[in-house]
Subunit: 348 residues, 2 copies
């Protein structure tokens, strides 16, 4: 791997995949310039040097603390995640993960290929001791605020041991990052009676009851958008289905609402009167507005910014990464897993 | 079992569980009186004779073709489904299913305990030859119209053979009941690439490709509310999660909209202007408005009307049952399964 030496640093340093996502590198660089100006952090943009220098100059970089780390290759959204992260060793994502793993940065943010990022985080940054699987854990909007869903798609098939660790990590995340005292952790099931669901669910349920977290039991999917839990635990297949279903429903609502408002002159007038409120509502329903999705279970904060991130969304993802470092998320997850989440203490 | 003889009949006869659901028997009887007046069918109300006679008299029954078949017991929503259907042999649901199984009616409609109805349909009406599992298959709203989801919760754990039969049954349903020439059948997955998902999904995918149905491949949950398939095939866990998530999202959306419109005088005025449109939209999003959910895979049409059915919803469920008899759904499913859905012909 061609990794250049970076000097010791005093400030928090966030590594950025400057080539990932639909709007890279332009919007990524723009978001980073804003973030470096707003926060007391250093940013390392990983990607094609010449391109990034051009973008930085166009932004009028000034004296903000941004350095460029060259990476010639790019992993695209169409690349096969696992083979891309293995073979494209000079890609911005792979090099960024390596820099993070080597302690040359405190956190990593990428808007690139989700599957490659999850595989790469596990392969390069590596899992926290005892962790069985890394999970994707987006914070999503509900009628009452936000909830964390874990896993949203990293692991299509899970065991009770995986789900138990997801519950611990999710609970720690909401405690540390969202300052919740005692986040309510629910396990997705198709009913609330004890004997409902699959064997996976029932066995996980038994194990979660024994944990020193605020496990509130089974939660039906109906309650999720209504704010029925702060941490929603599920396998990655179910989580991904819910995540995407939410996206689709929001799209369907939106197009139906348009139909209602564009009917005639009177309804169009009505639309003008509630325009601001509707825009706010649309925004609050859009999970992309709620920051990036952390990849939990690896040894450094790794944030998956949405693929369609613009400068503002990326700025928010950098802020999120900064906050995860400050709130000592990784240390707290490491402790929680060591105490309650390892297989040896399966029934603790 | 205390089952009374009913004479031979010439008209179509629909058996009704008059005691099932939140609004039984009043709304059920009312819906049936309207249905008997509107359609050329006979209805058999199964339930407590005295209560039902009182309700019928209150409706001013007139000369409509409704008979009462006494059943002393009732299965409630709180009863454990399997033990209730086994032990309460004199319940309206169990007796209604038996009458249907014995050919004393052409179809059965109940707004009662969903789990008991699915178990009872399998136990009493029995499966169509070759069918591995009965499935719950509600017709649900999308931005473009309707789609059938199969399975919505009858089978939390499935095999490729189950899902293959669900695809056949769903396709036949949409062809016959909705008059679609070639319903698009999609298999829920967390991506559209061939290697995505679980082993169950990949194996099912391979089998569905071989069927003479319009199988369009994997469908992501995002596309479901946008109308991406006419038949959405999934295991009962995933289906139940989507069904309930849709309910929750609709609720969350509705409460957020209220917030937008109740903000101030101007927005309240705006609400008046689009009141009708919003009511229509709410209605079209409410899957309860889209009739009952058939239990597919058994030897007679069995319809699960929504537990909160009022007279109008129940009237619609009776109409749906009538239409299922007329369109020869069972005969067509039986043929389809015999030709393409049996294990012996796994790869046909």
């Amino acid at each position: 791997m061609k990794i250049r030496r970076i000097e010791r640093y005093d400030k928090m340093r966030i590594i950025v995949d400057a080539m990932g996502g639909d709007n890279a590198p332009h919007e990524i660089v723009k978001g980073c310039v804003d973030a470096a100006a707003a926060f007391d952090v250093e940013l390392v943009l990983v990607g094609r040097q010449a391109e990034l220098e051009k973008e930085l100059n166009a932004c009028g970089k000034g004296d903000v603390r941004i350095t460029i780390h060259n990476a010639d290759e790019v992993i695209s959204g169409e690349d096969d995640p696992i083979s891309a992260i293995r073979s494209k060793k000079n890609s911005s994502m792979r090099i960024g993960l390596s820099l993070t793993a080597e302690g040359k940065g405190d956190a990593f943010v990428s808007a690139g290929n989700t599957g490659a990022l999850i595989s790469g985080a596990t392969l390069v940054v590596k899992r926290i001791p005892g962790i069985r699987r890394a999970a994707l854990a987006p914070v999503m909007p509900s009628a009452k605020g936000n909830f964390l869903m874990i896993d949203a798609g990293a692991n299509a098939e899970c065991t009770p041991a995986f789900l138990k660790q997801f519950a611990i990590m999710g609970s720690v995340y909401m405690q540390r990052f969202m300052d919740m005292d005692s986040p309510r952790v629910g396990l997705i099931n198709i009913g609330t009676e004890e004997d409902k669901g699959t064997e996976l669910i029932r066995e996980t349920h038994a194990q979660l009851k024994e944990l020193p977290i605020n496990y509130t039991g089974y939660i039906e999917a109906r309650e999720v958008p209504l704010g029925g839990a702060d941490v929603v635990v599920c396998d990655g297949f179910t989580g991904n289905v819910m995540l995407k279903f939410m996206e689709g429903m929001a799209g369907a609502f939106s197009s139906m609402l348009k139909g209602v408002f564009y009917k005639n002159t009177l309804t169009k007038l009505s639309a003008l009167m509630v325009k601001g409120g509707l825009a706010d509502m649309k925004k609050s329903m859009d999970y992309k507005e709620h920051g990036g999705a952390p990849v939990l279970g690896v040894k450094a904060p790794v944030i998956k910014a949405h693929g369609s991130s613009d400068a503002k969304a990326f700025f928010n993802a950098v802020r999120q990464a900064k906050r995860l470092v400050e709130c000592r998320l990784i240390e707290n997850i490491t402790d929680g897993i060591a105490q309650y989440g390892c297989d040896e203490k399966k029934n603790v």
